[in-house]
Subunit: 224 residues, 4 copies
């Protein structure tokens, strides 16, 4: 049986993702002892990220070839701007961030870099490239959810366990699964140069995923 | 009271839209005597158009500044790819077009020209420009619906009256209304040069609206 | 030896291009008896076309992968905005079009359709797609120049023979040759789906090339 | 007399640019004692930057309204890909970087962030926005050149003084001057919202200019 393209992507970032899973932010969150102000910082940054991620979904919908794929992106876009935004607003409320504060969030340097990366891929690239650049976010959150939910220590903190549960719903897992299949299909129709580009975007986004957690943990600020 | 920008746009195309309202396609449709094969041609072309229109909505969502506007476009995009596509599929079934046939529709020259116009505005322009280019389609259909529904003759043909009713629902009228307000707001924040561009796109799309009806009526084909 | 992709493109449009070569515009031009007002109409439209073609070259430069290809597009872009524009201005002077008149030219419907096609491919597509959409213009002009220059009748009209000579210079032929090789290279690295898209763009642009000559011959106007 | 928009931009980043002028990289370069390996790192990064900067110029050319502005960008694009690249290649030779090494340069994190910023502005924004995002690079180099050339200590190092002289030629200063006027003109035709966007891009690019020098000084590497 032929190996899936997404499996080869996953393998390539194995060490990198391992560093994500073992980053203090996620370790401490899993043990229910992540300082709340660090989590709040993360929620605000994720709120900004979500809007930029949504922009990329809009462009992906525009560039998709058939109605089914367009609809997949349109649904994701809609969900991002409703369900996911509301989830962050709810988390915000529970941790003491007002809706106004959430909306006024300013992106930290790493957040700007990450979202400009996916945005420029979205505008300049093909649907395959866009999906490859967006996949690490969606997919790594599923694996993070899986690992954290397996830990008994998480339940100590209801906010963190609630956050975690989002990425372990049947619906979310099917979404990632569908998205991966789309990436596989697009790769199978692509030449080697295009596949190489997809790989490059996937790796860079994976790096940024790590850096995003690190940014939150350090409550990164602009040096000037 | 200050005049709305969209009112000034509407005034500028008054004669042009009048030619739309009195085009044989719509006159005959309103009297229930439009040949069914002409209507079928229209439905197939509109199906293709809808997908390209949806692409523009995706880009508009990507370029919108705030979450509310993004969400407006995302909802429209979702509706285009579900409710509106299904409406055309239903009309297709009733008039003898299979779903496969509908999907296999190839755009006639005027359809290509119109959709390339809005697509290139979408990629190259601002949200204000995109909305100005897309507004004539949405708005003129509402006025067409209004005029046709006022005619007693329409009811002779249930397919045509059903098609017409779509653009006279409370929901559709609110949509157009909301969209117009967005255009007004964007224009009010724009300089004169941007407003001129918006006006130019609006007029060209209005021309294309006329030409689209004419294309359908003539069952336009590529000359080679 | 493997067949070049551009050869397969050329074969696909053989009948279509034959219709270009035998269009009354080019027949009459070749016999030096094309009415001057028709040629003037063409020059004005070509002036508008050239600016939009240049925009596509700018985007192609932005999307090219390596510096060499970027530079190829940048040179073409510069040449379009200088040498080629000046050539049209010179032709304009000789045939009684002032520089102001040339700049004030408004695109006829077919011109809008053609340029929106290449522009939307430029923004939404890959470099390979952009080049495939732009190739018919460059390449067919070379073949037109070849055929017309072989005719003894052309020399009767110095303006027409001067215009023709532009597309038969060593420099122009090398340009087309280099451009074709780039298309071949990009195709060889692409999957079948991308190649199919390139083919589709190439055929549509070839259709528009025919329609452009026809537009000029008919001195096409907007129907409303 | 009305104040120029570019003057107001310049004022807004006064403190920020002051930090650029007094960054150890430029202080040590001006005193001829910047370690050569640091300068080499900078040259390699600038080579990568230049290609991405050129892409933005291509898109700016595509989005410019009139032929003159298109030509301004096309000339800049051509110069970037020839004169400026060759200048870096020459500096590379003199400091021991082979042409192959230069071409194989991989962008450091700050370089990726900066170029993705200007690229995403280029694709998503207007010409005014693009120019505002690109201006800090061009303009600050002119001021850096001015300050460094005034220092007698620079002449100790011929490579550094040669690099510096590039940004003090009559030609370069006229270029910046022309570019500033374009920004002023575009701003004067824009609404307040657009001007605010231009300001935001200008400030962010100024920040990245500082961070770029800092990146070079630290010979920044990817943390993973």
């Amino acid at each position: 049986m032929r190996r899936r393209f997404s499996d080869s992507l996953r393998k390539e970032v194995d060490l990198l993702w391992e560093k994500i899973f073992t980053h203090p932010f996620l370790i401490e969150l899993g043990e229910g002892r992540l300082p709340l102000d660090v989590f709040r910082f993360y929620v605000k940054q994720d709120y900004v990220y979500l809007l930029e991620f949504s922009r990329c979904l809009g462009i992906a919908a525009a560039k998709a070839e058939d109605r089914e794929t367009m609809h997949t992106f349109a649904s994701l876009l809609n969900a991002s701007l409703t369900v996911e935004v509301e989830m962050l607003e709810r988390l915000g409320q529970k941790t003491g961030i007002t809706a106004d504060e959430l909306r006024a969030s300013k992106p930290a340097p790493t957040n700007v870099a990450y979202t400009r990366h996916i945005l420029s891929v979205a505008y300049a690239g093909t649907v395959g490239e866009i999906m490859a650049a967006m996949l690490p976010c969606m997919w790594s959150y599923q694996e993070i959810g899986e690992k954290l939910n397996a830990q008994s220590t998480l339940t100590r903190n209801t906010v963190y366990s609630e956050w975690c549960a989002t990425y372990q719903t049947q619906e979310y897992m099917e979404l990632v699964s569908r998205y991966r299949r789309l990436v596989d299909n697009l790769a199978s129709e692509s030449g080697s140069r295009m596949k190489k580009k997809m790989r490059t975007h996937f790796v860079l986004s994976s790096r940024y995923e790590y850096l995003f957690w690190d940014m939150a943990y350090r409550k990164e600020e602009w040096p000037l």
